[in-house]
Structures are given as structure tokens and as C-alpha cells.
């Protein structure tokens, strides 16, 4: 077991990638005598957008926690480039109604910053005028965006988003995916995105890693969708729905260009 925090990237496995920011090699995680992850390799390069998909129980959240250094691997090594600033949006925020806290107060917990930055970060994720709203009164979609804003306020080199679409309706999911893609291209930060939702994988994803305790297959969305190992695990739904997403995306822009309102 080793968690390296210093030094250069430990292996040359990343030779294909010029500048890795995160590198897991041969990571195995056992919890309570159960193997959650087995011999997982994962590399995220600078500015790269990597989507990890997998069914429930595939070890996605464990993978995230290993990358974040919250969990030490039983075997293998987890390396993250020294000095990297991480913005993390967890899957759940167990907000207890007994804690009175508004959105601005919640954002301030991530680090002391001038209030003008809060408004800017909220605007970046598409929220306006909600600084004084109580956190407990937010909708699922608003909460996801506030979590994203808190992560962005840290000016991250690496954004780690665990199920950023949970509790968000379909239109909101498309908007959020577009937003994440925009943020990546605007800020140039690497993004590690985890999702169990096979119906919708971002068109702008550089690489999809298909996880089921071990890495089944990985590659561009198009290659993975055709990979027999992927089809074996998830069936044939994914390929068609990626196409649907492209389609929908174009539709919205057409509608906007004609000045019409979408359905």
C-alpha cells in the first residue's frame, strides 16, 4: 500500500499521455474482506475530461475517494501531481435542517473569499440571486450547481464530480453537461466525472472508462460504445443515446438561432 504525494509520475505507463495529473496503477481496494476495486489503472491528463461509468456497486465512489486521497489502496499506488488544487463535488450533501446556512455561507466554507467572487461563481454555473437562500430550501438541480460553484471557487486544476447529475431532471442534465464542458474549455482544468447513467455520456468526453470493479474497457465514447465488453456489460442502449444527445444538442442551438422557444 502506498500513496505517493511527491515526485514525478511513478510509471511510464502514461507515456501516451504527455502530462498526467492523476495516475492510479494497479489499485486494489478491499473493505471488510470485500474486493471493491481490482487492479485498476487510471490516468487523467492535464485538461483532459475523463468519464467513468459503471453500474451500481462497480466501485465508482471508491475510485473517486482513492483519487482524492480519502482512501488508501490495499495494493497498487495512487499518485496525484504535487501541488494540484482539487475541486470536489460529492455525490450527496447530507444537509440537516438543524443547520441554518445560506448559499453564501456554504460557499464561504470552502475558503475565505470576497463576496463578489461568490456571485461570479454562481453566475458561472447559471444561478442568480440565490446567495441568501437557505441551503435546505434548494432544489436538487440548484444544489448540484452550488456544489459545483464551491468546487470552482478553489480555482481547481482538477475537478472531481461524483454523480453530478443525480436528482436533476433530463433537461437539467443536458444543461449541466454543457456547463461542465464549457467550464473545462474555459478554465482548461482536468475533469474526472463519475456517472452510473449510461443513457447520457457527454459528447465532449475525451475518454470513457468503463468500470465494473476492474476496468472493462476505455477509449473515446464512440469506441467504447462499440466495444463488445461494454455491450456485454450494459447492452446496446448507450450507442444510440449518445447519438440522441448530439441530436438534442443541435436542436437547442437551432431553436435558439431562430429565436424560438424549445418545447
Amino acid at each position: 500500500m502506498q500513496v505517493q504525494a511527491t515526485g514525478p509520475s511513478p510509471t511510464s505507463a502514461a507515456a501516451g499521455l504527455a502530462d498526467p495529473i492523476v495516475e492510479l496503477s494497479g489499485v486494489t481496494v478491499e473493505l471488510d474482506d470485500r474486493t471493491i476495486l481490482e487492479d485498476v489503472d487510471l490516468v487523467v491528463g492535464t485538461g483532459e475530461l475523463v468519464t467513468v461509468i459503471g453500474p451500481n456497486g462497480a466501485g465508482k465512489t471508491t475510485l473517486v475517494k482513492t483519487v482524492l486521497g480519502l482512501l488508501a489502496p490495499t495494493a497498487g499506488s495512487a499518485w496525484i501531481r504535487p501541488g494540484v488544487r482539487i475541486g470536489y463535488a460529492p455525490q450527496h450533501l447530507p444537509l440537516d435542517r438543524s443547520i441554518p446556512i445560506d448559499v453564501a455561507g456554504f460557499l464561504a466554507l470552502g475558503g475565505a473569499r470576497p463576496h463578489s467572487e461568490f456571485a461570479a461563481a454562481l453566475a458561472e454555473v447559471g444561478l442568480h440571486g440565490i446567495e441568501r437562500r437557505q441551503m435546505a430550501a434548494l432544489s436538487g438541480g440548484e444544489l448540484r450547481r452550488v456544489l459545483l460553484a464551491r468546487a470552482l471557487l478553489r480555482r481547481p486544476d482538477l475537478l472531481v464530480l461524483d454523480e453530478p447529475l443525480s436528482g436533476v431532471d433530463v433537461t437539467g442534465q443536458l444543461e449541466l453537461y454543457e456547463l461542465i464542458g464549457d467550464i473545462r474549455s474555459r478554465r482548461g482544468c482536468a475533469v474526472l466525472l463519475v456517472s452510473h447513467d449510461l443513457h447520457l455520456v457527454m459528447a465532449t468526453t475525451d475518454r470513457v472508462v468503463c468500470l465494473d470493479r476492474h476496468v472493462c474497457c476505455s477509449g473515446t465514447p464512440e469506441t467504447v460504445a462499440r466495444d463488445p465488453r461494454f455491450l456485454n456489460l450494459f447492452g446496446d442502449r448507450f450507442g444510440t443515446l449518445v447519438a440522441l444527445y448530439h441530436h438534442h444538442h443541435v436542436c437547442r442551438h437551432d431553436a435558439a438561432a431562430r429565436g424560438e422557444l424549445g418545447p
Binding site: 482524492l68 443547520i99 441554518p100 446556512i101 456554504f106 464561504a108 466554507l109
Partner: protein, 281 residues
């Protein structure tokens, strides 16, 4: 002229009330009320052990509470049983053991009632100094780490990723709570001491919009309850610990009731405007 023992009790009570605002807020947010009960119930064993070892009982109480807080902190990651089950086992185990040990040493003269329900006559000058020291240390640490503490309370993993030393700060918080319980026990006793932490912040909750407000209002409610409770107890000769707690609970009931009334009036005003908006659609 106020009696010296009453003045000591009053000052100690106010000191405890002030630290109990912010610490009680964490007890409520992190659902540590049972943790507090466990510390309080096991205190008797601490006192008995201290007396057997010829140590000062208050010192024994503090040490034992700190030791237990450390043990509970170490047990926190155990997942096979729910935390309240572990706490309940430890709490009642320690209380029962304290009573058993006490029955064996018949030369030990211990005023059990004073420990169970408090005795303001027992508040010594040194106890008062200990309260002042607790107040100073707690204020300094909370002021410095407040944001990190609130952050780890809401989402510990997120706090850790953002660089907060979560486990260390949790231990500090647990120790502060243990200290408050050990010293507050002098005033209101083992059975009632957790209410000093929980009730004032519960009364404060409906009126607070930020974590800081809840802690501050909690301190104010606690201080008022102490003042009124002790005055009542001196004026009409009722036991002082229960008088403080009853006052605090009444303030909680009044606060909740008042909030409910205001809320209903507020929603009564909002209803017609909602209907109008509905009609426009």
C-alpha cells in the same frame, strides 16, 4: 448582598452557558446528544475512581471524561453497530459499574444526589477558575477554526479534500464537549447536564439564519435561563439545577410556539398572492 456561593454558582453557570452555545450547536448538528449522555452517565465512575486513588474528584471527572471522549472518538469509525448502541452500552455500563464500585467501598461517603441532580453549594472557587479556563480555550480555538468546524460538520469528505484536518478537529470538539459536561455537572447534575448543551440552541434554531447566529443566540438563551433559574431558586427555595433546566425548556417551548404562530401568519399573508399567481398562469 448576594451570597458568595450563589455568586460563584451564577458566574460558573454563565460561563458554562456561553461555551454551551457554540458547542451545543455542534452537539445538535452532529447528533451528539447521546454522546453527551454517555459522558455524563459515566462520570460517576470517574468520581469514584478518583476518590479511590485519592485524587481530586473534579480532576478525576475531567480526566475520565477526556479519556472516554478519546475512546469514543477512536470508536467512531466502527460500522458494525450503530453509534447510539455503542454509546448506550458504554454509558449505562459505566454508570452501573460506578454504582457497583461505590457499594463496595462503604467508607467512601459520597452524596449521590448531589452528583445526580447537581448542587450549587459544591461549586468551589477552583471550579469557577476551571470554567473560566474552559471558556478561554474554547473561545480561542472556535474563533480560529470555526469555518473548518462547520465545514466538517456538513460534509467531512469535502472538508478533508479542501485541507481541513477533520479527525484532529473532531477530537478537539469532543474533548471540549466532555469538559463542558464534566463542569456543568456540578451545577445541574449527571441527569440534567446534557440539556445545558441542547436546549438553548434548540430554542435558538428557529430564529437563526446562519450557524454563527444559532451559536450566539444559544449562548444568550442559556445565560438568561441560568440567571432566571438561579434567581427563582434563591427566591422561592427550589432546587437550582432543575430550576435552570426548567427555565431553558420553557424558553424552548415559547420560542417554538412563537415561531409557529409567526410562520402561520406569514403563510396566511402569502396564500392570496400565491393564488393570484396561480390564476395568472
Amino acid at each position: 448582598m448576594i451570597e458568595p456561593f450563589l455568586l460563584r454558582a451564577l458566574l460558573a453557570g454563565l460561563g458554562i452557558a456561553l461555551v454551551a452555545g457554540p458547542l451545543g450547536a455542534f452537539v445538535v448538528w452532529r447528533r451528539l446528544a447521546i454522546f453527551g449522555e454517555a459522558l455524563a452517565h459515566s462520570a460517576l465512575l470517574g468520581v469514584v475512581l478518583a476518590l479511590l486513588l485519592a485524587l481530586d474528584p473534579t480532576l478525576g471527572l475531567l480526566l475520565f471524561a477526556a479519556l472516554l471522549a478519546c475512546a469514543l472518538w477512536a470508536l467512531e469509525d466502527q460500522r458494525l453497530l450503530p453509534t447510539d448502541t455503542i454509546l448506550s452500552t458504554l454509558a449505562h455500563g459505566a454508570l452501573a459499574l460506578g454504582l457497583v464500585v461505590l457499594s463496595f467501598v462503604d467508607w467512601l461517603r459520597l452524596d449521590l444526589m448531589a452528583y445526580l441532580f447537581g448542587d450549587i453549594l459544591a461549586v468551589s472557587e477552583r471550579d469557577l477558575l476551571l470554567v473560566v479556563a474552559l471558556l478561554a480555550v474554547v473561545s480561542a480555538v472556535l474563533a480560529r477554526h470555526w469555518r473548518a468546524l462547520v465545514s466538517l460538520t456538513i460534509e467531512p469528505d469535502l472538508a478533508r479534500v479542501e485541507g481541513v484536518p477533520v479527525r484532529r478537529l473532531r477530537l478537539v470538539l469532543d474533548l471540549f464537549i466532555a469538559g463542558t459536561i464534566a463542569l456543568g455537572m456540578k451545577l445541574v447534575g449527571i441527569v440534567l447536564v446534557v440539556s445545558l448543551l441542547v436546549v438553548p440552541v434548540a430554542a435558538a434554531r428557529p430564529w437563526a439564519r446562519t450557524p454563527e447566529q444559532m451559536a450566539l443566540f444559544g449562548s444568550l438563551v442559556g445565560a438568561l435561563a441560568t440567571l432566571i433559574g438561579l434567581t427563582l431558586s434563591a427566591a422561592v427555595d427550589i432546587p437550582s439545577g432543575p430550576a435552570i433546566v426548567v427555565t431553558a425548556v420553557f424558553s424552548f417551548l415559547a420560542s417554538s410556539g412563537m415561531h409557529r404562530v409567526l410562520e402561520r401568519r406569514g403563510s396566511g399573508r402569502a396564500r392570496p398572492s400565491l393564488a393570484r399567481r396561480g390564476g395568472a398562469r
